[in-house]
Symmetry: C2
Subunit: 305 residues, 2 copies
Amino acid sequence: MTLLVVGSVALDSVETPFGQVREVLGGSATYSAASASLFTQVNLVAVVGKDFPREHLDFLCQRSVDLQGLQVVEGETFRWSGRYDYELNTTHTLETRLNVFADFHPALPESYKKSDLVFLANIHPELQLEVLRQVYPRPRLVMADTMDFWIRGHRDALERVLGTVDVATMNESEVRMWAGTSNLLQAARRLLSLGPKVVIIKQGEHGAVMFNKDTYFLVPAYLVDSVVDPTGAGDSFAGAFLGYLDQVGQIDERSLRRAVVYGCAVASFTVQGFSLEGLRHLTPQAVADRYLEFYHFTHFHEISG
Amino acid sequence: MTLLVVGSVALDSVETPFGQVREVLGGSATYSAASASLFTQVNLVAVVGKDFPREHLDFLCQRSVDLQGLQVVEGETFRWSGRYDYELNTTHTLETRLNVFADFHPALPESYKKSDLVFLANIHPELQLEVLRQVYPRPRLVMADTMDFWIRGHRDALERVLGTVDVATMNESEVRMWAGTSNLLQAARRLLSLGPKVVIIKQGEHGAVMFNKDTYFLVPAYLVDSVVDPTGAGDSFAGAFLGYLDQVGQIDERSLRRAVVYGCAVASFTVQGFSLEGLRHLTPQAVADRYLEFYHFTHFHEISG
């Protein structure tokens, strides 16, 4: 199958209790494409400025990420800087410089238009809608992520996106904000009522929950020795989730559950380093091993006698 | 086997976003004994004043909680009042009136001294040590809970308790405070290094993790439609955990994992009502059904192909 990822490619500056980095590779599309590429070939649509370091493009190319859809334009690459405190659960955005991203309009190369799976990573919901207008025939599965900024300021456009996609994903705090309730079950039901068949709520260091109209699936997060930088964990989750589905070519409850576990597994590597360091030398075998660890760390017996 | 629970029996006043109650049945020993009694017979050691309503004693008696060890003394019963905000994760203690609890010294009836399983619920660590000096022969398993107050003010006594017991349990925020690290894996290892063979970290709405020196076991929390009042969730967890172990009479990794799931299952009922309302009409069958739901909500396949 083919997987299309549309989102941001950025240069991030990040501070955590474990250190700080400046102008390193980041962006929602970068994390998700690099993660998906552990499972399958990925087509990437994004924009960077002429200042974007060549080495980052080389890294993505080596990871079988197709860059035909990456626009390289005059100007500076999108910059984001943020800080995480002691418990690492809350992102404090210090600065966002959109730069070339301000005028970005995703333009899908002809060969990308027929995509089986599409990930609309965290960008302006109007841009997510622009992507959906270009894909044809309808993909087997479209997944969209978002963030508090769009929930606060562009709720209508965001809800048009959510009403169109198959899988909607938000952080725990975001879905609570959007739904106006602290109860996750109620929040997920409200989100499902907009249209998506599947809702995935990311809970950071506490894992993720996947909902559909009949049931839900809870996965706790893998416990890592040291969470160095949580940036990109959610995008890594989404990329691995879709990459796995693309690899197996089957979308049912069983494969969706496995995909969630793969998502958590890859995200657990991402947070172990700054930028994409945790993913850079990651192999499919190491991911498969961590999947098995997840199984052993969560397994218990059905029969309760 | 026989299960002994030592802790507080209290009259609680609680405010949550869903309502408020005054002078209702509460206390760490009450929640844990009532929860354990879904699985086995329980011996209770605690103290109440002469003002303690007869109906609460009747409730515990009906639930096969033996009250021979409950001291009824001149004076007023221990009162606690607290408040929970929107996200229900943090307890704000408004007032603690120790009353008869101030002079409490646990005195085990002769028939309680030979106990197979012992739960030292959240009370002063010196009182927990007093209990341990009275049980003989050494119980098969002793579990101790605590709270931030003792971590801050009675760390030495608390660590003597932790060094003696088989299972130590704390909330996520408490173990982080005690260990001085936000990393749960590191915090759990430090706790294990004091002596307990098993450490259980309770994560409120995110479930629980059980650690031993070789592995860990993650259980997410059941999602309830409405969390009315989180008071007593941790004690219900501990009570059901030990009640199940007492019922099956076997303590190994398999039964410990099941016990953790039963703990989460019973706690999920507790939080659905104020005081012990969620437990009052609960049946072993309803608990077994929820155990099965846990299985279905968390199960995925081992083989990742």
